[in-house]
């Protein structure tokens, strides 16, 4: 009976390692704190109505940012744990983690950073910015979007369950390669957590991707042809088409692995006619394009940033768009370069090697276009531009090492070494993460209504750059010295330890950078009045998102703009903005269906992880019922009459005017670190002296 009710779940699963207990306690305390604050401020209803059930892509975008930012810290802690172990576990010392735990940590690090940090941020940016850039009020299917977001949250919860509730995480590396991930070699629940976390969030990604393809293709403002779309929208379109192409492959592959593990099939096992090499193929057919899904929107937004801050149109729009399309097409046909070493013949290896270096062509074209854009421009070194400049150096290193790895004979030596790890971190940190940071600082005024503190932003940027050099230059060298990745201990005679220690130091410098980024946001909020953006166009921008006030109203545009050229808003500014004609606006209603389905999906996954099949079955039934009920709900939209829109717009104009009047004169430099500490200490002193907590 107990087995039926709870499956494999029992007291042994509960957290019992110091770091899992620490993690659980920290998570629970954090949760309690949030609950307390919300209850005290009576904000539960507000949270539910204004945020959780919202279908507004801007709000969903912000929620993506918050979740991804939180997971960045979570995955960053994993990175520090990895480096700490490697810095001390020499010769007889086992370090502070067992091999198994160490492997769980780096597996979680990989999954979290790719699925829940990079994907989260990219989806956040696409959610917030793409509808504004194409002059749309909402999405093709707002429901799919909230469902996608909540499935992503369910995935986050699932990946953290192993230390919240207990059990273990996969110790297989982030892709859970077979047969290591099969029932024979990984009998615990770790791989099941991995499967269901990625499965649930992966389905969310597929749905989100389909939704954004429809949105970009069908909801553009009148006059905006495909060849007039802003570059970030182009990048997003390419990326989402790739996601819709390959994510079903991930779902299918993980499903087969699940069948192997839970129902004893033999798709990827060593015996019984299974073929583990098939798993490697399938997972990389998804895995390689996945990296490009992340980086292509970043390429797009770099094009816009360099154009805006050089005060020039992008040098060759056509070359830029063709570059983006070229990268995405070729990226679908290179997956085999991840396992040249599996033993394919020279013909096959050279074909995939060729495809790999061909990708360098459109990428180089993009770089040339950026250079030509800066040529004879007037470049402002704002924070977004700094991230772009930093990106170039780091990404070039990643690109060069990438082409080296694309040569099969060289790859035999470099594969699975730390050189490879340094290579893809150069690309993912340099390309994706710096792109995300550039995008967030660029669009922050649009999102929050005030600019980010530039000075502390610069400190954060330099910490990231310095930390990156300190961590990853030694990592490249270690790879050349023959150090394989994922080592939980090694001999001191190898001479690797000083370099590992250097990586750890670099890790702390990067952590300082992240802390400074958090400080940057707080410091900007303190100086909100001075940094307020009342124009809606703080950077002298070129595309339509700057035509809206900051932050944009929930209907984005009171009147849908008429687009006549690329750099639509730039042209409008030159020709004078037309007086808006107000019309009735149809907006989607809030819905909680996405939340319910995601809770059920989480429960189903949890049931499968612990073999609680009644729970899984009931939850799947529940999902089907929810979808049917939602499908027959015909009242999903409401209308705001034109008069109401006019009233809202006038109220906003008055508020802006008032804010303008109250705006503190811009006194030049932003608050520095010393000043920030002073302000915080003063505030703390004020709280203590006047016993302000009594009124909280």
């Amino acid at each position: 009976m107990k087995e039926f009710l709870l499956g494999k779940l029992d007291g042994h699963a509960l957290p019992h390692e110091w770091f899992t207990i620490g993690g659980s306690v920290a998570f629970v305390l954090l949760g309690l704190f949030v609950v307390l604050v919300l209850t005290r401020l009576k904000r539960w209803k507000w949270l539910w109505n204004e945020w959780l059930t919202s279908v507004d892509p801007k709000k969903i975008g912000i929620m993506y940012f918050l979740a991804a930012g939180f997971m960045l810290v979570r995955g960053g802690l994993d990175a520090i744990m990895i480096w700490l172990q490697q810095a001390i576990s020499v010769d007889g010392s086992q370090g502070y983690l067992s091999a198994d735990h160490f492997q769980q940590v780096f597996t979680a690090h990989g999954n979290i950073m790719v699925f829940f940090v990079a994907m989260g941020f990219i989806f956040g940016l696409i959610n917030y910015i793409v509808p504004l850039q194409i002059g749309a009020r909402d999405l093709a299917s707002p429901f799919l979007n909230t469902l996608g977001f909540w499935l992503y949250i369910a995935g986050i919860l699932m990946i953290n369950m192993f230390f919240l509730l207990g059990g273990e995480y996969a110790a297989t590396g982030w892709l859970a390669v077979a047969p290591l991930s099969g029932p024979e070699f990984s009998p615990g629940v770790g791989v099941d957590y991995l499967i269901w976390s990625l499965q649930i969030s992966g389905v969310g990604t597929t749905l989100g991707a389909i939704n954004f393809i429809m949105t970009i293709l069908k909801m553009r403002a009148p006059g905006m042809t495909l060849w007039k779309m802003p570059l970030f929208t182009w990048g997003s379109l390419c990326s989402m088409i790739m996601a819709a192409t390959v994510f079903p492959l991930l779902t299918a592959t993980l499903f087969l692995l699940f069948l192997d593990r839970s129902f004893g099939t033999h798709f990827f096992t060593t015996g019984g006619g299974g073929d583990p090499m098939m798993y490697t193929n399938l997972i990389w057919m998804w895995g390689h394009p996945e990296v490009y899904i992340l980086v292509i929107p970043a390429y797009g937004l770099f094009g816009e940033i360099v154009s805006t801050f050089s005060r020039k149109r992008v040098a060759s729009y056509t070359a830029n768009v063709l570059g983006l399309i070229g990268v995405s097409v070729f990226a679908l046909s290179v997956w085999l370069h991840h396992f040249f070493t599996m033993g394919a013949g020279a013909d096959i290896n050279s074909f995939f090697g060729l495809m790999t270096i061909i990708i360098a062509v459109p990428t180089t074209v993009l770089v040339f276009v950026w250079i030509a854009t800066m040529y004879k421009g007037r470049i402002r070194f704002t924070n977004p531009m700094l991230w772009f400049l930093g990106f170039m150096g780091v990404f070039a290193t990643g690109g060069i090492s990438g082409v080296m790895l694309g040569f099969p004979p060289a790859d035999f030596q470099l594969h699975n070494s730390l050189f490879l790890v340094a290579h893809f971190h150069s690309n993912v940190i340099g390309g994706v993460l710096f792109g995300i940071f550039a995008g967030i600082t660029y669009w922050f005024p649009k999102i929050a209504g005030f600019k980010l503190n530039q000075r502390i932003g610069r400190y954060a940027f330099w910490c990231w750059i310095a930390g990156f050099c300190l961590s990853f230059i030694p990592m490249y060298i270690l790879g050349l010295m023959g150090a394989t990745r994922r080592l939980d201990h090694y001999d001191s005679s190898t001479g690797w330890q000083p370099l590992y220690v250097m990586m750890l130091v670099g890790g702390f410098v990067i952590a300082t950078g992240v802390a400074l980024q958090i400080v940057q946001i707080i410091a900007s909020a303190i100086e909100k009045r001075r940094l307020r953006d009342t124009t809606g166009d703080p950077w002298d921008g070129r595309s339509l998102e700057w035509a809206t006030p900051s932050p944009a109203p929930f209907y984005n545009f009171a009147a849908i703009p008429q687009v006549t050229s690329r750099d639509a808003f730039w042209e409008m500014k030159k020709q004078g903005l037309p007086k808006p004609v107000y019309e009735d606006i149809v907006m989607p209603k809030n819905t909680a269906a996405g939340i319910y389905i995601s809770i059920l999906a989480f429960l189903a996954g949890f049931g499968f992880v612990w073999d609680i099949f009644w729970l899984a079955g009931l939850s799947i039934l529940g999902i089907i019922i929810c979808v049917i009920v939602r499908t027959f709900n015909e009242h999903t939209e409401y209308t705001i009459p034109a008069a109401e829109v006019e009233k809202l717009e006038e109220a906003r104009a008055r508020a802006t005017k008032a804010a303008d009047a109250h705006k503190v004169a811009d006194t030049g430099e932003d608050m520095g670190l010393r000043e920030f500490i002073k302000v915080v200490l003063k505030w703390a002193w004020d709280v203590i002296r006047n016993k302000r907590w009594r009124t909280w």
Partner: protein, 316 residues
């Protein structure tokens, strides 16, 4: 933001970055004094070729990357807002010639790199035997959890986590695995890596040209004992090698099936061990074990055997 600055002040950060990178380089050079950078310190034919290829491709790429990166940062600096002398022309037109150039330059480089790649991939294919007058040596390798078993079929010896080969002799490693996930056989000083998988045989050819002990490992993660799955590859003269073989054949216990079963059961950080080989077809049995039978037992049934043989051939 647009506070006017002197030119000197403007270029300060540029120099600072330069000094920092220089300092980092100096520090690393100090740190690496006397260190063994395996990939640039090859002790065999294949590893040497691979090093040359890595250097060649890097140089070719730097030919395009250095000017590009220089131009990138130079323009960013030259056309900064505070530089009044730089021209500002927002209407610069980039015509067909520009379009052609930006595609042509990387394409030319990729054609060059592509041809280097095609030839080198075929030349350095690991399954390709190395031409030499010396009679080649075959060593059968079984990856287990978590140790490497080396079987010398002709010498009739077997070793664990230690392999010795004669100098200047072509060696073919036949890689497979038993009761172990995919593992990767790698001796960085001698050659690149190749996967060892159950039911498959991958062929890795190499030839050492300097005597010495070189570290080998599993480069692919294969479970808890992964980091300790190391071995020593010793390269010695033919005479020393022969006496070593002789010594093992006479003085070591024989590798019985119970001993083999003990070897394939999981254990970590194993020391080297040496055996005389009792069954010469041990390796074939290991490979055939995975040829489609539902239980994990070796199957002596004739049809199954044939099937396995074919399977085996396919991957050669």
């Amino acid at each position: 933001m647009t506070k006017p600055k002197s030119k000197l002040e403007d270029s300060k950060p540029v120099w600072l970055i330069f000094y920092c990178l220089f300092g980092l380089g100096l520090f690393l050079t100090m740190l690496l004094q006397g260190a063994d950078i395996a990939l640039f310190n090859p002790k065999g034919l294949i590893a040497g070729e691979q090093r040359n290829l890595i250097i060649l491709t890097t140089v070719v790429m730097l030919l395009i990357a250095v000017p590009t990166i220089f131009l990138f940062y130079f323009f960013a600096w030259k056309y900064r807002e505070t530089n009044d002398k730089a021209t500002y022309d927002p209407h610069t037109r980039h015509g067909k010639l520009f379009m052609f150039t930006v595609w042509a330059i990387p394409s030319v480089f990729m054609v060059v790199l592509g041809s280097i790649m095609w030839t080198s991939t075929h030349k350095l294919a690991p399954q390709k035997p190395i031409a030499s007058d010396v009679k080649p040596l075959t060593i059968q390798v079984v990856a287990t959890r978590w140790k490497w078993i080396f079987i010398y079929p002709e010498e009739k010896i077997a070793t664990v986590n230690f392999v010795q080969i004669p100098i200047d002799t072509p060696v073919t490693f036949q890689l497979t695995a038993d009761e172990a996930p995919m593992s990767s056989f790698w001796i960085p000083h001698l050659s690149g890596q190749l996967y060892a998988m159950t039911g498959h045989v991958n062929h890795l050819n190499l030839m050492a040209d300097t005597s010495g002990d070189y570290p080998g490992s599993s480069a692919e993660i294969n479970g808890a004992g992964f980091a300790g799955m190391k071995f020593i590859a010793r390269v010695s003269s033919k005479t020393i090698y022969d006496s070593w073989v002789q010594d093992i054949r006479t003085n070591s216990s024989s590798l019985s099936s119970t001993e083999y079963d003990r070897l394939i059961s999981p254990s970590e950080n194993n020391p080297a061990a040496f055996y005389a080989l009792a069954e010469t077809d041990l390796y074939d049995k290991v490979v055939m074990k995975y040829s489609g039978s539902h239980d994990h037992q070796a199957n002596d049934d004739q049809t199954d055997n044939n099937h396995a043989q074919n399977h085996h051939m396919e991957h050669e």
